[in-house]
Each structure stands twice: as C-alpha cells, then as structure tokens.
C-alpha cells in the first residue's frame, strides 16, 4: 500500500510500486489534466508538481512519491474557478489542440511561485522541457507574462497587508 497525496486529498493504492504516477492519476483517480504524450519524458504533457517541483509523471514510479505533495492541473483551479495561470492562458487563448498546455501551465505555475517576475529568458528556460507541435509558443509566452503580472499584484498586495 502506498499513500499518495494528490491535490490535497489522499489515495491509498495497491498498485505495483513501479507504476508510473500518470497511470494512477488518469486510471485510478480519473484526473484528465496530466496527459500521456510520449511516455518517455520527452514531451512534457504529463508534467505535474511534486513538492512544487515539476516532474514527468509518466516516468516517476509511485514508490518515490509516498507522502509528497502532488499537484495536477486540477489542483490549480477548475473550469468554474480557474487559477491565475489558467486564467491568463484562457485570456490569451493560448491553446490550439491544447494537449501540451497542462504541462505548460504546471511549469509556468512552478516558475512564478519561485519568481513572480521572470524575464523572457527565465520563462523560456522554464518551459523548455514542454513541447508544443501546434506552434502556439508566442501565445503561451504572452500568457505566462500575463500570469506573472497577476502574481506580482498578488505579491505586492500581500506585502501591503503585512506592512
């Protein structure tokens, strides 16, 4: 039995310890956010956060994840209440087929948590492991810049409150 903590809720699973996390997320938990793309850690569409660090869930066995905090796309917001990065991507219409975007959003979120005002190079660097074959890159970059403005407002509001 392995205990996984996903988006704040707990799942006890008797799956084989070497089962990649993605399979538990999609098949057992029926979460659609993380995608099976290449299954080889080369495309980034399966990216989720483990203790706020982006990982490839298609490669990471659940044996490594007991009692770690796992966050998927669903953990960042819902269709009725999208999170700040999701909102920015919707506002910029930053998706064509949309298959890679969960990974992009997860990586952008992780970046902005560390650094709410990343420069262009930092954004490109953070998103580099995620591939988009539709060619939505410029919109994706715009969306991350827009999300960063939201994060900066949040940060400065928090600073105001703490003063």
């Amino acid at each position: 039995m392995i205990t996984l903590r996903v988006n704040g809720s707990t799942l006890e699973t008797d799956s084989d310890p070497e089962t990649p996390l993605l399979y538990v997320l999609r098949n057992d938990m029926e979460l659609n956010g993380a995608k099976f793309g290449c299954g080889l850690g080369q495309c980034g569409s399966c990216t989720v956060l483990v203790d706020n660090m982006p990982i490839f869930s298609c490669l990471t066995p659940i044996a490594m994840l007991a009692d770690r905090d796992i966050t998927t796309l669903e953990g960042l917001g819902s269709i009725d209440a999208p999170g700040p990065v999701q909102r920015a991507f919707i506002e910029e219409q930053a998706a064509q087929c949309g298959y890679c975007i969960p990974g992009m959003i997860i990586r952008a979120h992780a970046l902005l948590m560390r650094n709410s005002a990343p420069d262009e190079a930092a954004i490109r660097d953070a998103l580099e492991p995620s591939l988009c074959r539709c060619g939505t890159h410029m919109r994706i970059l715009r969306a991350v810049r827009r999300a960063s403005e939201g994060f900066q407002e949040q940060t400065s509001a928090a600073r105001e409150r703490n003063r």
């Binding site: 917001g77 919707i90 064509q96």
Partner: protein, 307 residues
C-alpha cells in the same frame, strides 16, 4: 430553375461541339458513343457543402419545444476552433444568441458522417451545410409564424429565436416547431444573410473548448471512460523489418484479466480488462521478455531479419 437552365445549355454544347476534346479524356469509347446517342439528363443541381450527402434539415439542427437548440456536425474539434466557428455560423443564420446553441461534434450515433476532419474542409463542407440549414430553418419559422398570426412574413422579425410581429406578437422557435417535422430537404439556399449583414460570423469570439482543455475537463478521446471498457495494446517489434517468428501465448491465456492475444502476421496485440497494463511496454521490452509486468504477458521468440 434558372440555375438548372444555365447548366443544361453549356453541357449540351460541350457534348455536341467538344467531342474531340472529350475523347482525350474518356477511357471507354463505348461510353462516349452512348452519351452522344442519348445524353443522360443533367443531374439536379448539387446541394452545397455536406448538404449534398445529408440534405435533410434535421440532420443538422434540432429544436426542442423547451427552446433547446442543438446543431450537429460530423467534423471533430481538433483545436482548429470549429466548435466555436460552426456555432457562430448557426447563431448568425438562426438569429439566436451564440450561448444558447449546443453543438454536437462527430458522434457516430447522432451526427452526419462527414468523413475525415482534414484539409480545411470543415468550414467549407460542414459550415456551408449548417449555414444553409440554419437560414432555411429561420425562414421556415417565420413562415409558420406568419401562418399562425395571419400576417405577411415581411411584418415579422426574429430576435434570439423568437419571431416578433410589428404589433409585438411573439412566437418562439420552440412553440413554432412543436408538432412539426424538420425532416425536410434544405432545398432553398437563397435565405442566408449576406456577409455584409453578419453580426456574429467573422467576429473574434473566445474559443468555447479552451477553458475545459486548460482545467482538466474531459476533452479528448483518452478521457472517455465507459462501463466495462477493455484496453488493447500493440506489442511493437524492436525495429523496422523485424519479423515475429514464433509466439507462445500459453502462459498469457492463463493470466487474470487477459481477454485475447491477437496476431495477424507480424502484428501483435493484447486485449485485457481495465487497468491490467500498469506501464507502457515498449516493443523492445515486450519482445525481449524482460521480467516486467507487461512483458511477462507474452513469451515470444523474435528473430530480426535484415531489412
């Protein structure tokens, strides 16, 4: 009718005067002779877009008495934005608010079979069909309202799916369609609004599929989960040109959950219940029979041949 008249004449002219030209392109001379002796009647003018294959109004639009409006397309949303664009077409020509239209895409049980979604044909074929079907339906509704109210159609206008007379009498599409059949041919294509009058088409509208795709709502085939759904997996060879020489499935057949091993020449696949496949087997792993959960399914002997 004028269109048919215009079509007939040049075709006969061509058959009479252009025999030598036709000969160049005709494979069977017998057919050419037959044509010259008894020219077949000209085909009826083909309906535009996918109406040519699915001419019935109810193949494209359904209006329920509770005012629900459903538009059908046999094309799939692939990120090209047709959910949004086709809804715009329907909203424009029906004169119904964009948000009220439910668009059903590529459902084998319910939508026309429009074949592949490819080659930029979705708007051209499906969009054209929906445009004319919606325009035809709007005019049909106005006609029914005119009949009911006993006034000329010219005195009626449509606002968000409600036909309104100059005196302010109102009949909704849902009321008008009640008890009527929409199983009629969209034979008249003259009623569509012209581009200069568009208010919804041609406008930039946020794509309706994006919020769901960005928040993990079921949006892709992979997100379909059915009762008693089984899974198949192809066991791929280590490289191009490899042949499956020998296959022993005796140990596989005993495994719980395995329903069938399918072999067709070098093609090999396994069908199993639910979640038996705990990790994706690469062809290499499966064919080398490494002791991982899935590879143990098939014991096989693969000899590679030079390509």
């Amino acid at each position: 009718m004028t269109a048919r008249g215009q079509w007939e004449l040049p075709r006969r002219e061509l058959l009479k005067g252009g025999g030598a030209l036709v000969l160049y392109f005709t494979i069977s001379p017998a057919r050419l002779v037959a044509q010259e002796i008894a020219p077949s009647p000209p085909p009826p003018p083909e309906l535009p877009g996918s109406l040519s294959e699915f001419p019935f109004l109810d193949a494209w639009i359904r209006i329920d008495s509770d005012e629900a409006i459903t538009v059908f397309t046999g094309k799939a949303e692939l990120g090209q934005g047709i959910r949004t664009a086709l809804t715009q077409v329907a909203a424009e020509q029906l004169k119904v608010d964009f948000s009220r239209i439910k668009l059903l895409t590529a459902d084998t049980a319910q939508t026309p079979n429009e074949g592949y979604t490819a080659a930029s044909h979705s708007m051209e074929k499906s969009g054209t069909a929906i445009l004319h079907a919606a325009a035809y339906l709007r005019r049909m509704m106005i006609g029914l309202a005119a009949e009911e109210l006993g006034i000329a159609a010219d005195n009626l206008r449509v606002e968000d799916g409600v036909v309104i007379s100059s005196a302010g009498e109102r009949r909704s599409y849902g009321q008008l369609v009640s008890g009527k059949s929409l199983h009629v041919t969209v034979e008249d294509q003259t009623g569509a609004f012209a581009p200069e009058n568009y208010t919804v088409m041609g406008q930039s509208v946020p794509r309706v599929d994006i919020p769901g795709k960005l928040t993990g709502e079921p949006s892709y085939v992979h997100d379909v989960r059915l009762e008693r759904m089984v899974h198949g997996r192809i066991v791929r060879p280590p490289r191009s040109g490899a042949r499956l020489v020998n296959l022993d499935t005796s140990n596989v057949d005993q495994m719980p959950g395995v329903l069938n091993v399918v072999r067709d020449g070098n093609y090999l696949g396994v069908i199993a219940e639910g979640r038996r496949f705990k990790r994706p087997p690469s062809g290499k792993e499966a064919l080398r029979c490494r002791p991982i959960p899935v590879s143990t399914i098939i014991s096989c002997n693969c000899r590679q041949t030079a390509a």
